[in-house]
């Protein structure tokens, strides 16, 4: 079995990621409700090694990894990714010009 740590820690981190993703009304989002319900349903078990519980924990850890790495990837993309070429209007604006607005188009 993969070394996952405590389920509570995974759950808390996952809910935090959902909060980052959703914003204000994250408690009403279907993802939040589904995750909390799934964890509650699998909490009560008399067996020491419950396979379903471990499967759920692994899925939760995978989803947490997905949300976290998407957020970090987007942050890196925003910071480092190029913005492409400037448009002709922006280039003209760099030196203080404006493109001519000729009604009939360029002659």
């Amino acid at each position: 079995m993969a070394a996952l740590g405590a389920p509570l820690r995974t759950l808390r981190a996952l809910l935090r990621e959902l909060r980052h993703a959703a914003g204000r009304s994250y408690r009403d989002s279907p993802a939040y409700r589904h995750v909390v319900a799934a964890f509650r349903a699998h909490r009560v078990t008399s067996e020491k090694l419950c396979r379903a519980q471990q499967e759920l924990h692994f899925q939760a850890a995978t989803y947490l990894c997905l949300l976290r790495s998407v957020r970090e990837h987007e942050a890196l993309h925003r910071e480092y990714h190029g913005r492409g070429e400037r448009s002709p209007q922006e280039v003209a604006g760099l030196v203080g010009f404006r493109l001519p607005q000729q009604p009939g188009g360029k002659g």
């Binding site: 993969a2 070394a3 850890a61 989803y63 997905l66």
Partner: protein, 281 residues
């Protein structure tokens, strides 16, 4: 008004794009301009259950695949995750962050038009060039690291599937016996079509069949699988330093894609039933 004064017989001019300088693409757009981004055009994202499965609704519109088929997924948890992806888009829609949506679209459209046998064959073919089977001889620190990190995974796979894989330092790679390939082919045949698309995706990302199977069998976590896949890169980073805009960018993207693929496989191949045990008084 200006058009009343224009001389008669004047041809209408083409739009401004024709006046653009520099390389111009087929639709008249400048070649190096970033593509126009789609703004978020919906307020609410919700899920509904249809005949084929679960559907995603953006406001009142139903989500469709790129080939205009209706977007239906068999599992509710997967639908919820896809809806969360769409809901977490802020002002613009960034399709490159929506990995689960992309995987569902691939499974629904099957753009490469491969059937189950072809998918399995493509997946098992990776075993011949599996990352964890290719070892270096020098530098000795890296060879040692590969032995310590990769040998346990190979040993686990050999034990779990009762096959012989081995590793090799030659350029031709390990010699995989046909019985090993047969075992993997018959094991992968037990997954349905959707799960197979996910498995093939994970194998392509990690560049390793063994790592993907150990991930799908829940033997290692996603972070560990990505670390093992990038073992040589991590070694070089520790030696020469980390470059955030390249190394971390690739790491996050690989983690996101692998996590999405693994989650996709598990959600498409599970059948969860809740058994309530009777409390004993």
């Amino acid at each position: 008004l200006w058009w009343a004064h224009s001389p008669p017989g004047r041809r209408p001019r083409p739009p401004l794009a024709a006046a653009a300088s520099g390389p111009v693409g087929p639709c008249g757009r400048r070649a190096y301009a970033p593509p126009a981004e789609r703004k978020r055009f919906y307020q609410n994202v919700s899920i509904s259950q249809g005949e084929g499965g679960f559907e995603i609704n953006l406001d009142h519109r139903k989500l469709k695949t790129p080939q205009a088929k209706l977007f239906t997924v068999p599992s509710e948890a997967l639908a919820i995750a896809v809806a969360t992806e769409w809901d977490s888009q802020k002002d613009t829609i960034k399709f490159y962050t929506m990995h689960l949506t992309t995987l569902c679209n691939t499974a629904l459209d099957n753009p490469t038009q491969r059937n189950k046998t072809q998918l399995i064959r493509a997946a098992v073919k990776f075993l011949e060039t599996d990352t964890v089977c290719y070892r270096v001889e020098e530098p000795p620190a890296l060879a040692e690291l590969q032995k310590n990190e990769w040998d346990p995974v190979v040993a686990w796979a050999e034990k779990r599937y009762n096959v012989t894989i081995g590793s090799s330092t030659s350029i031709l790679g390990p010699n995989i016996p046909a019985s090993t390939k047969e075992t993997f082919i018959s094991h992968l045949a037990s997954y349905n079509m959707w799960a197979l698309q996910g498995i093939e995706f994970v194998i392509t990302q990690l560049k390793s069949l063994i790592l993907s199977m150990s991930l799908i069998d829940r033997h290692i976590t996603v972070e560990k699988a990505v670390l093992l896949s990038r073992l040589e890169e991590e070694y070089q980073i520790r030696r020469w330093g980390n470059v955030e805009w390249a190394h971390d960018y690739d790491l996050c993207e690989l983690r996101a894609r692998t996590a999405a693929g693994t989650l996709f496989v598990h959600l498409c191949s599970e059948s969860s039933t809740v058994k309530h045990k009777l409390l004993q008084d």
